[in-house]
Symmetry: C2
Subunit: 695 residues, 2 copies
């Protein structure tokens, strides 16, 4: 907030200084044209130059203030450079490859190359272990091709849109909000002549950008004279573009379909079968890992905003009257950065909260939601996400769907800013109700009472004969309106009829009031016995963008360090063994038959122990071979420099220990599988002096 106040006063100072310059400039011109004395003119010019210097100084203060506010410490340029270094390494080592590269690619589509594919598969199998197996979730696997009726029910056909504008001459499409956002940011960052009032206006637009209607966006684009970025041509009015890839199922052309925008709908439509499979018991969770699609108007932000991505979604179905969670105590003590709605509105920062307190104070709506927040925190940090660059941000009222009870995003800080990577939403009964209505199949749960319960029920009995006499052709509509009365209205009518004998009653379908007499309807409350309660379950949905998590992990794991000779910077990915694409490399120190034999023997034991590894028997220097594997994030390297014992090197500390050939596979397995730590290994085995190490 301090930075903003600064910025404001600096903009005002700048405007003042500019008007002083204008005045002084005028004075100089006047002196010159009136043929004043040379000395006087010189003095006036000097004063003008002094003012200009002062203006320049304020400008650079403003520049610094803006950079500070935007970057949270690091400058935008240094963040770009860092990202470039990460992305270069990722692309050079084939963690990912722009898809269809030899055909100059397609924006927003990327391949996972061999190490990236391995990281992804490690992340997914840890996800399965941490969520599906741990909680006995029911995993399903549904197709990507989805018929229109399903996505009409879910609301995607109508609402899964972005506002788009077209270059009126070339037809090139742009996201309307992106253009307005870019314009405002550019102005704020680079236009020092901007008045403080104008700056405040642009900032307000940035804050409410997501809430602007097509008309409002269009008006602003017109007002600011924003044109197509590439051609400067005029732009069309904004209109909604549906972000689903559309296709046609079967040959007839009459069955529209879409590539699913999320995996969740496949679970909702199967609710009835899954509930039965679970023995008709709540709560239970279903889960799905799979591809989802989003036909972005113009993808930006590299690997973060793509047109096809892997989602891992959980739908936890729960009784809306009981959202407690039996295992909540397992996570209640966790403390991490949370960013509740109120703190965002009042301009505070995210702060460390204890999860148990956040739930008991009502900051987080319920225990089950809280439980998943805690489990997501554990999942992400165990993968290697830096806990200081991870926060849980609550949705603001305007961000949340009307039906949602509460919603928190796990956001990870990257060079692009804070990125939503996991959404954890209590979606209430919305989705099941929507599909129930559209399909006419009841998606409900039953709670069987251990013994029948007595329930007071409202009974409204219209007396058809009297109503017919009184209302003739309108009888049916009056009858229906009477039957549809809510309890409160009905009980008021009952009281009025008893005291006054008749009452005015508004019938919507007739659009007028009618007079209801005492003999036309009987209203009473009766006690009934019920054996079960039937209800639509609430669903709590943690939804993981796997590609985004992996990209943030790359940024959090990347660092550089000087080579031994100090002549170059070497890249390292400090992946934990859990996600490292390869757990271990095996090098003979020099090319030598005996050492190669030992290396192959060790490789066999590693295979038997299930540790993915690679042998490198090229004659390259050991230092270069270490550098190569550091860049792939391989945590351990075994170097064969004798036939009896070998060295094991840890990637980040570069510490080496000496271990017997027979033992080395099991030592590496223990640290790679997380059964022991590198510190444990250091205690157990002698540190290897680096004399033979070429590093």
């Amino acid at each position: 907030m301090a930075a903003v106040a600064d910025e404001d006063s600096l903009r005002r100072a700048l405007a003042q200084k500019q008007s002083s310059i204008d005045v002084q400039g005028g004075a100089v011109r006047q002196l010159k044209s009136s043929g004043a004395a040379k000395l006087d003119i010189e003095a006036a010019v000097q004063a003008l130059n002094a003012l200009k210097l002062e203006k320049a100084s304020i400008e650079s203060q403003l520049q610094a203030a803006l950079a500070g506010a935007a970057g949270g410490g690091s400058s935008s340029a240094s963040r770009d450079a860092f990202r470039q270094a990460v992305v270069n390494t990722l692309e050079r080592r084939l963690f990912y490859i722009p898809s269809f590269k030899i055909y100059r690619g397609v924006a927003g589509l990327y391949d996972y190359g061999p190490p990236g594919c391995s990281v992804k598969s490690n992340v997914l199998s840890f996800w399965r272990q941490h969520f599906v197996l741990e909680e006995n979730m029911l995993e399903v696997d549904c197709p990507c091709v989805t018929p229109e009726v399903v996505l009409k029910a879910s609301g995607h056909v109508e609402k899964f849109t972005d506002l788009m504008v077209k270059d009126e001459k070339t037809g090139t499409c742009y996201r309307a909000d992106h253009l307005l956002k870019d314009f405002c940011k550019e102005k704020l960052e680079k236009d020092f002549s901007l008045s403080a009032e104008k700056a405040a206006e642009l900032k307000h637009i940035l804050a409410v950008l997501d809430d602007l209607s097509a008309e409002q966006l269009g008006a602003k684009i017109k007002e600011y004279g924003i044109t197509a970025p590439d051609t400067k041509n005029p732009l069309s009015d904004p209109y909604p573009f549906n972000l689903m890839f559309q296709t046609s199922i079967g040959p007839s052309g009459v069955s529209p379909g879409y590539m699913r925008p999320e995996t969740a709908q496949g679970i909702f439509v199967n609710f009835r079968d899954l509930y039965y499979y679970n023995g008709n018991k709540l709560p239970f969770a279903a889960a799905q890992i799979g591809q989802a699609f989003r036909n972005e108007i113009s993808p930006r932000q590299g690997l973060l905003r793509v047109r096809e991505f892997t989602l891992a979604e959980i739908e936890h179905f729960v009784d809306p009257q009981d959202k407690s969670h039996p295992k909540f105590s397992d996570v209640a003590k966790l403390e991490f950065l949370m960013f509740p709605r109120d703190d965002q509105v009042s301009g505070q920062c995210a702060k460390k909260l204890q999860l148990g307190e956040a739930v008991s104070r009502g900051t987080v709506n319920n225990e089950t939601l809280g439980y998943f927040i805690g489990r997501v925190y554990l999942f992400l940090t165990r993968l290697g996400i830096d806990k200081d660059r991870l926060r849980f941000r609550q949705h603001l009222a305007n961000e949340m769907a009307h039906y949602a009870a509460d919603c928190w995003d796990a956001e990870i800080e990257s060079s692009y800013g804070w990125i939503e990577c996991v959404g954890i939403a209590d979606r209430s009964a919305y989705d099941l109700r929507a599909h129930s209505e559209k399909s006419s199949v009841a998606l409900v749960a039953q709670e069987k009472f251990s013994e029948p319960r007595e329930v007071e029920k409202l009974v409204i009995t219209p007396i058809k004969k009297e109503l017919g006499l009184a209302f003739k052709g309108n009888q049916k509509m009056v009858t229906e309106a009477l039957e549809a009365m809510e309890e409160k209205v009905a009980m008021e009518m009952k009281a009025d009829l008893e005291s006054k004998g008749e009452v005015e009653f508004h019938v919507c379908t007739l659009g007028k009031n009618v007079t209801i007499k005492k003999n036309m309807v009987s209203i009473s409350k009766e006690i009934k016995k019920e054996h079960q309660r039937v209800f639509t379950p609430s669903v709590i949905e943690p939804s993981f963008g796997i590609g985004r998590i992996i990209y943030c992990l790359y940024e959090h794991s990347f660092y550089t360090r000087p080579s031994k000779a100090g002549d170059e910077q070497l890249n390292v990915f400090s992946f934990p063994p859990l996600v490292a694409p390869i757990k271990c490399t095996v090098f003979p120190l020099v090319q030598n038959k005996k050492y190669e034999e030992v290396a192959k023997l060790i490789s066999k034991s590693l295979t038997a122990a299930g540790i993915s590894h690679k042998i490198d028997i090229t004659g390259t220097s050991i230092g270069k071979r270490y550098a190569r594997t550091d860049e792939l994030g391989v945590p351990f390297a075994i170097t064969v420099d004798s036939t009896s014992s070998v060295t094991v090197r840890e990637r980040d500390s570069k510490d080496q220990v000496r271990v017997d050939v027979e033992k080395v596979a099991s030592v590496v397995r223990e640290v790679a599988d997380g059964l022991s730590s590198w510190a444990d290994v250091l205690k157990m085995y002698p540190l290897h002096s680096s004399e033979t190490a070429e590093e």
Copy 2:
């Protein structure tokens, strides 16, 4: 073949009998109309009836012969009943679910429910272990959305089609070949008045069905008067329908894209990067697991012919001059059913061959292809495919693409007949060349020679001045034609020019002969030094239809056996532990706190050992609980009937052994992980007498 000869003579006998009946019927009518004696008429009628009886007997012989030929032993009705039993069990236990069932589904789309999802994930992780890890393959993961240019290069835009006909009134679409096939089969099976000649014609059509052009198909449909099956309306002429799901990438509508029909193209377009990643060395293989799509005209055959499916594909790149494989000896001794091209053409059956011999005799084109055939055999049989219902069928000449060097399908016998589940093709350099041409990026490999090699090279030098004088405006075309001569043609010309001084030479681009004289061109051979050889690698492609393999596995694993009381048939899936969706169940024998505690203790040890399992503490009888898990194919059940030792039951034998509580998790882990067999367990632990077992 015997059945066919039978059928033929039976049809002839039937035709003869019919004409005898016609003659005798005429005789009866004549006797009646001429008022013959009653006894004479009766005798004639008796003779007619005798003939009719004989005809009926021949008809039933024909019926039997047809059923025998079609069913290979089991009747079509019993195969349908078996399939229905399997499919009912699969659907009831949620191995799979028709997708979007509450909206009445979409033909050809299925979900994997919880146990099916688990089987699939087991099959895929075994695939990764058996192929990717074992051979150090480079796994990649590419998007499903694919731009048109890629699928134009691969030929899919032009050729990935089926021929379709439309009901001319309702617009309903059918596959043209399916209608013709159904017509021929129906006629052959049910029309006993068919002449032997007509039967032979229909059989010929069935044999060549895949080779018929749109015109030929259309002519046959007209000739036989085939109409729309549902409405009997007339049909349109057949025309090609592209089976790819089409979509549009981005908002402009000018970038057509398709959902990939196979995963292979994603690998081919990355060849250059992958080759570099592999240190510029051949051979190497890349692999990919992912969704593929096929917009079937009218899907049939349930889970076998679907519109979206998981493929696992390997592209093994190899020097076309050296297709040997260093590990071929590992599989050379394997013997299994093979069905070479020649045996198919000469009407023989598949027979057992030794793989090593099949390669050395040239039946299988090369060692690398043979190696993968062997590895596929091991993969499928380890999953639980019955080796007697698995055969490798070589493609006939008319089935194979013109560029393919050889191609074998792993076919599995199911209730639908022999089903292609894995294709193993040597596709030569076709795919890389196609993408090289279309993208103008060289997708080639280099073989660096250890020392430069001397290569004799043809050098053709046209003498432009003389050619210009002789051919004026045609000079350029003559020059180009000379330069383009192949070695043989050039050396003949050289000889002719030396002996005769001139020679007639055909210039294609001019469409005529010209006379070339000795002074117009110099032809020689020179020795040049080359440091490397540049070539397009061949690719050997094993491609696995994962869903088909799983469905066949379900059929091969399914059997029924009577319940103990003998009052019902119980279903069992005899999955090997490797693919079983759950490895083990844990039951307390009776509902009892102490037993439940023991069960939970065992569950914890099983979790620690990484064995997927389920506790069932419902009060259901132990027999019913066993039946429930047998139906899911759970191989082992632990029943807690004391606090010190428990019983372990094997699913198929129903044998039980008694094991100490502390040891039971490790015993189950050993058999579930395949480290020991159930026979080993029987030797180690006392058989449990079934007195307490309720089964």
